[in-house]
């Protein structure tokens, strides 16, 4: 142990002993990054109204409450529907746009790129009230269609960035080769390019799903009526009082997110860049 403390820690002459403070600090920070979220999981199995940790009595009370409530179930169904549809719309629209911008190289490309990533850069509140206004005019307010369109717009920057950076690492001459052998452009794209950027496409799809599923502010404005999203209901519940049901919903959301992360990792083992 003492020898390790005195051994060099990097390219410079700094020793592990001199860096001990950094190690301690980093480990504490990593613990603080992860635990607040994870601690909700055991708490959600508490029988008490006050969410103790560790729970004195374990129960599925809050899960029963969640699955038994038609209001929560309806909101969950809306959120899932919107997220799946957002994924199905944003991924092809975004991938095709990224491909078009990458291959076209005309002078408007940069402008178009900046325009397409603005939804990520500007305050989401503005997106929300803007969409709210537009939907009143287009009578899309409180519809799934409206929600999906707005969420698609929010997801596009991510799809564009992820797919765009994969295309940058891809040699477009391969497509030229396919086309010189007689394949039409779209066939060349589907059979040659697409398989090689598939990791980026899958990542884009997952990010689109999560963007929609986790989104709060836009949903607060444009979802409602018969179709409130899960996040909208959760947010409203949080503003009032600490509803333990939310702990159980949170746990389910953490599990779903982690599963999606694992899926992304599994696909990531493929050789394509992303």
């Amino acid at each position: 142990m003492l020898a390790w403390l005195k051994s060099p820690a990097s390219e410079t002459q700094v020793t592990h002993g001199q860096r001990l403070w950094l190690y301690v600090f980093a480990i504490i920070t990593m613990i603080l990054l992860v635990t607040p979220t994870l601690i909700v999981i055991p708490m959600s199995f508490s029988d008490s109204q006050y969410l103790e940790f560790p729970p004195e009595e374990w129960s599925l009370r809050w899960y029963r409450h969640y699955f038994g409530s038609s209001e929560w179930m309806n909101a969950t169904a809306t959120s899932l529907k919107a997220a799946v549809l957002t994924m199905l719309v944003a991924t092809p629209v975004g991938v095709v746009a990224a491909y078009g911008l990458h291959a076209s190289q005309i002078k408007f490309v940069r402008m178009a790129f900046v325009l397409l990533i603005t939804p990520m850069m500007i305050p989401v509140v503005l997106v929300a009230i803007g969409a709210f206004y537009a939907y009143v005019k287009l009578s899309l307010l409180y519809t799934i269609t409206g929600l999906v369109l707005a969420h698609t717009m929010l997801a596009l920057p991510l799809v564009l960035i992820v797919t765009g950076s994969a295309l940058k690492g891809y040699d477009m001459n391969q497509e030229l080769a396919a086309r010189s052998l007689g394949a039409p452009r779209w066939v060349a794209f589907v059979t040659v390019t697409l398989p090689q950027i598939r990791f980026a496409v899958v990542t884009s799809a997952l990010l689109s799903f999560l963007t929609s599923f986790d989104e709060v502010v836009v949903a607060m404005f444009v979802s409602g009526g018969d179709n409130p999203t899960l996040t909208r209901n959760m947010f409203n519940a949080l503003r009032d009082q600490i509803d333990p049901t939310i702990a159980s919903i949170s746990t389910i959301m953490i599990v779903v997110t982690s599963l999606l992360m694992v899926v992304a990792q599994v696909f990531g083992r493929g050789k394509s860049g992303g």
Partner: protein
């Protein structure tokens, strides 16, 4: 050769057409952004110049300057954003440095602790802090049993809680670009510095730190801009005590249905955000700011 020369203009035209057609592939995406974002925000811009009587007026902007309650909101927003960014740098930079010194495999494992919260729903994380920080919450009960303080203190529904939650949520946005920049630094530079007699701290401050600044700058900027427009976490953890610009915009619409006031604040927020990003883009590539996809 001759036929090629005569065909050249036609070929060039064809190529031009093809590029235009390829550009057209982005049109559905562009159309969506135009209809749902650009046109409505343009309308908000117009609305912000309409007074209560329906005529052109600057009253919505004048109100922001004249009324203390409005100017205070902007000051609070800047304070909170600056504090959050500063805390994120103070906490995130050392952690990124720690990870950048580890072998890639172990570093990737550590990176999960950053990515897991990054992927987890904002609302879930905000809720977690609400539960932990409340009066009967875990933080209070542990601090009391450790003897840090005697009776439950208020650490949520105020500035403290807001900052804790915001820093926790913003940290990954800082750590990821900083870590990326640090990983890209050639370690041989440090060896060279060390060989030339630099002490470890001198090698760090004169070689390593300057090379990591593009990542640090990109991350800090991202955090600051996101904080300026942040809504969910301060709305829940601030408990009405910390009012940021975005919250005032929402309440202006939800409670008072005052589109003029909301629009004017929105325009100011937008102009501030765009100005900061524009100035920054003169020093940084846009791709760097967006992290280039992780």
């Amino acid at each position: 050769m001759n036929t090629l020369a005569t065909n050249a203009p036609g070929l060039r035209r064809d190529e031009g057409m093809e590029r235009l057609a390829l550009f057209g592939l982005a049109s559905p995406a562009l159309l969506l952004v135009m209809v749902i974002l650009v046109i409505p925000v343009g309308w908000l811009f117009y609305l912000s110049f309409i007074g209560a009587d329906g005529q052109f007026s600057l009253e919505n902007y004048a109100r922001m300057v004249e009324r203390k309650s409005y100017s205070r909101i902007f000051v609070t927003t800047f304070q909170v954003s600056l504090l959050t960014t500063g805390l994120c740098i103070a906490i995130g930079y050392p952690l990124a440095y720690f990870m950048s010194q580890l072998p890639t495999k172990i570093a990737n494992l550590c990176l999960i602790t950053v990515l897991l919260p990054f992927w987890t729903s904002l609302l879930v994380r905000t809720y977690a802090w609400l539960v932990l920080l409340q009066k009967q919450g875990l933080v209070n009960s542990w601090a009391i049993s450790l003897g840090l303080w005697d009776e439950p203190i208020k650490i949520v529904h105020n500035m403290t809680g807001t900052l804790i939650g915001m820093v926790h949520i913003m940290l990954p946005f800082l750590i990821l670009p900083v870590y990326g920049a640090m990983r890209a630094i050639d370690r041989d530079y440090l060896k060279a510095a060390s060989n030339l007699g630099a002490s470890p701290s001198r090698a760090f401050w004169t070689v390593f730190f300057p090379l990591s600044t593009p990542g640090l700058f990109a991350g800090a900027l991202m955090v600051f801009v996101l904080c300026l427009g942040f809504f969910v976490t301060p709305a829940v953890l601030g408990g009405g005590k910390v009012i940021l610009v975005s919250m005032k915009i929402v309440s202006n619409i939800e409670l008072f249905v005052n589109w003029g006031a909301a629009s004017a604040m929105g325009v100011v927020l937008l102009v501030l955000t765009v100005a900061i990003l524009w100035i920054a883009s003169r020093f940084l590539r846009l791709e760097q700011m967006t992290g280039g996809g992780h």
